[in-house]
């Protein structure tokens, strides 16, 4: 651990600001709380929002896991894990069950989370209405009035054009029946895990300077219509490494001839299953 920084990189004033905002976020589920996002030693888009939240949470006894699209061994995940090992000296892990804080980019682990775990999401665009309404003042008003007709029209247009709701990731949810919220670009496969989760879920958007929360055991409803209910992705394949047929699969190109294979996106889940099978 390097001792040239305050514990977990951020100064104490910044941590207090983040902590106050996090408490408000938990008290108003799904509402985007503005915060003073700091410059971090890596650029926006690399998880600066999630990193600032994690820095405000971490203590010396924490065990940190970082995943990027489900994988512990990709550049973004490895770098963030090493960053906190250096500036906070915390223990890190690739095992979901060993972690007390899990920072994630675009997935929720397949292994069910517990009440004593906190999941921190990296969020590129916290405003679910932004592609439909570019003005911040206007989207704020829409949230104030709980006027989410725009999003229903967008989903309806999907049905009119494609015959089904074509949104497959960052699928909008209604939290506690009040705030329309972006689940971050997780596949809609993961949306059911948001509903009544035992673990607290925190969302940080560094460039957009917003954070929000979904408390544990909170009603999280994926928008849909009575005649077009919400559905998650299904595959005709199983994971070719561990044989799982209920996990989220990535299609991977394996050679120059265009051969492909389907494997679990959650590397820890897949690895554990293979270890069990080998034992």
């Amino acid at each position: 651990m390097t001792s040239n920084y305050n514990f977990a990189f951020l100064d104490e004033n910044t941590k207090r600001m983040l902590r106050r905002a996090l408490l408000k976020a938990v008290a108003i589920p799904g509402y985007q709380v503005p915060f003073g996002s700091r410059e971090m030693p890596l650029p926006y888009g690399w998880g600066t929002g999630g990193i600032q939240l994690t820095a405000a949470l971490l203590g010396p006894d924490d065990v940190l896991k970082v995943i990027d699209q489900g994988a512990d061994d990709t550049t973004n995940a490895v770098n963030i894990r090493r960053f906190f090992a250096r500036v906070a000296g915390v223990a890190t892990t690739e095992r979901t069950i060993e972690a007390s804080v899990i920072q994630t980019r675009h997935r929720i682990p397949e292994t069910p989370l517990r009440e004593d775990q906190i999941l921190v999401f990296q969020v590129p665009e916290p405003e679910p209405l932004r592609t439909l309404e570019p003005r911040e003042a206007e989207t704020r008003t829409l949230h104030a009035l709980a006027d989410y007709g725009l999003m229903h029209v967008k989903l309806y247009e999907d049905i009119a054009q494609y015959g089904h709701i074509a949104t497959s990731y960052d699928y909008p949810v209604l939290v506690d029946g009040r705030f329309l919220t972006s689940p971050s670009p997780i596949p809609k496969f993961d949306n059911p895990k948001l509903d009544h989760s035992p673990a607290l879920m925190l969302f940080g958007a560094g460039r957009e300077k917003r954070l929000y929360a979904i408390p544990p055991y909170t009603r999280v409803e994926s928008l849909a219509f009575e005649d077009h209910p919400f559905e998650i992705q299904r595959w005709e394949h199983q994971c070719e490494l561990c044989g799982a047929d209920e996990s989220y699969l990535d299609e991977v190109v394996v050679d120059d001839l265009g051969s492909r294979m389907f494997v679990c996106s959650d590397t820890d889940y897949c690895g554990q299953r293979r270890a069990e099978q080998a034992a």
Binding site: N13, R20, A27, L57, E115
Partner: protein
């Protein structure tokens, strides 16, 4: 002589915050304040720990029972701004709940910014998880029961009136002894 604050400011406030966060995420369940801090009367050490964890020069604090020792202690250790009007406060410290101002006098936020609302820290006489009101809402799996001793009779009426304005409202942190309980605005009181 002035009392000391946290022995380890970085780690003590981190531990207190994590418990506060869990308390807010799991309403109506008492939790221990991990590192209480020395405090002049009428502030409890657990209350002082919460104040030192959350307050600084960026926050405005309203004291129900201000006195010179408390004011100079908080100004020195937290640099917090003390305000005269409940409506101006980000945080309000209630040390004698029986005579507390009505909840309507505190900032409830604006419809576009419901987070611009007060957090009340209320010292009460005790908690009993086997009696009292039943609560439900975000953070509560099914139902939690809790009696909070020492609140004025009109408190629950005021809070019920406030919940009609959601997402506007105030969030409450109750302290008794070394334990705290949070009641965010979204927690519903179930009718018997």
């Amino acid at each position: 002589m002035m009392l000391a604050a946290f022995a380890h400011p970085v780690f003590d406030s981190q531990r207190n915050f994590r418990e506060l966060l869990q308390a807010m995420a799991r309403p109506a369940v008492p939790r221990l304040v991990p590192t209480p801090a020395a405090a002049p009367a009428p502030i409890l050490p657990a209350t002082m720990a919460v104040l030192l964890t959350l307050c600084d020069a960026d926050t405005a604090l309203w004291l129900q029972q201000p006195n010179e020792e408390v004011a100079s202690h908080l100004r020195f250790h937290a640099g917090v701004r003390l305000v005269q009007e409940p409506a101006d406060a980000d945080f309000a410290l209630i040390t004698e709940p029986s005579s507390m101002p009505p909840l309507a006098r505190f900032a409830h936020g604006e419809l576009r910014y419901p987070d611009r609302s007060a957090s009340l820290i209320v010292q009460v006489e005790g908690f009993d998880g086997n009696a009292g009101r039943r609560f439900a809402g975000p953070g509560i799996n099914d139902v939690e029961q809790l009696a909070i001793a020492g609140l004025p009779a009109e408190f629950w009426q005021q809070r019920a009136a406030m919940s009609a304005q959601l997402p506007l409202g105030v969030d409450l942190i109750f302290i008794s002894g070394e334990r705290m309980v949070a009641l965010p605005r979204t927690t519903r009181v179930l009718e018997d």
